[in-house]
Amino acid sequence: MCLAIPGKIVELDRNAAHLGTVEVAGVRRKVDLGLLQEDMPVAGDWVLIHVGFAMTKISEQDALEQMNLLQMLGEAEQAMQEVRGYGIDESGGEHGQEHSRPN
């Protein structure tokens, strides 16, 4: 089953080294951290949970980078269009005509 969701580690179990408590939107669940033993998470880390096990740590750095990339979509094209507008770039026409837009 693909269902896997992000959750934040709020507590590591003092008695069982492989267990931790994860919180998702205010709901707390015990998860097994055994698959992350080579790089154990600490409280505050975000992990991906699948069938009660933490599969991997979620990198906030990578997530933010991705958001930046998404924000920049279209900006490269805008820059190109501006440049073309000045008549500096003569190669033009590789984009052809536009398709119909979604509403």
């Binding site: 089953m1 693909c2 269902l3 896997a4 969701i5 992000p6 097994d32 055994g34 698959l35 992350l36 033993q37 080579e38 975000w46 991906l48 699948h50 069938v51 009660g52 096990f53 599969m55 991997t56 979620i58 990198s59 906030e60 990578d62 997530a63 933010l64 980078e65 991705q66 958001m67 990339l69 998404l70 924000q71 979509l73 279209g74 094209e77 984009h95 052809g96 005509q97 536009e98 398709h99 837009r101 979604p102």
Partner: protein
Amino acid sequence: MRYVDEFRDPELITKASEEIYRLADPDRHYRIMEVCGGHTHAIYRFGLKDVLPSNIELIHGPGCPVCVLPMGRIDDGLAVAKNSNVVFAAFGDMMRVPGTHGSPFEHKARGTDVRIVYSPADALQIARKNPEKHVMFFAIGFETTAPSTALTLMRAKAEGIKNFSVFCNHVTIIPAIRAILDSPDMRLDAFIGPGHVSTVIGCRPYEWIARNEGKPVVTSGFEPLDLLQSLVMLLRQLRAGEARVENQYKRVVPWEGNRAALKAMAEVFQLRPYFEWRGLGFISQSALKIRDEYAEWDAEQRFPIPGTRVTDPKAAQCGEVLKGVLKPAQCKLFGNECTPEHPIGALMVSSEGSCAAYYNYEHRKAAAMVTSISSVA
């Protein structure tokens, strides 16, 4: 970050959609397969087709572990459960999958002790709490889920819990993709690679698809922005005539995979020489079985298994839909004899089955519109 809301931002979705329109060559028809059932569902759930140009065709792959399980395996598992003190524990997804003599839920109504669990650890816990019963966990899933089953078996062994076993139906994704590419009726341009399987196996296992078959692969997340961004990345490669493996789901998928998970799997499982997949036939080295060191916890070694082989009903076209050759609506039984309420095959009941996704998100909409139009006319 909440890791959910940000990846559903409407403005960014629009931006990504516009970029896809810009990149897609109007003279080309793109056939892109999303391997993973979870991706199929996300695509329908978020209505992503509505924001894509019509010359991008998304083809549903066989990445649904419940769907590819032949009916005979369910019959075998339920046969074990017929023993009076056996508890049949499985994920909710399995409960309405039809076996020859009914689904697990139907067996429950006839007296079999069938229980839904959300984790193999839950199944082990039932065993701990009920020493007089034997709990058999009917394990399904690709490499995403196999490590959790493996760890659970390791814990059972370490604790000496004897009233627990696993009926193992774990399968591996690469042979399935290979079978798709080997299939003569499939012409594909690129792949949206599995998201969560890749957290375990990493991205290297897909390199042969790019190198040998010349098709780009982008491992993708499951939010709308993830899928759209993956399509942007695939289209950029296709435009440039490139074929590489890229990782869109960087925040979660490590390129090298999860070593601890792979180790756990290697400790507990070995590859079966071959395994039957619904729709794809027998594929060698494509499924996991429990190693002899864990034989005591292997349901197939502890209990007599009938070894039933059941072919799908003739009219059902589960196999073709699984391979992507047919769209769900093209199966003759779709929407008539086969609906989520009375499914003929697992694709209509599994949360990752393409027939279920299509039925719940698209078909009913279209059918309702037709009813409305015809009643107005």
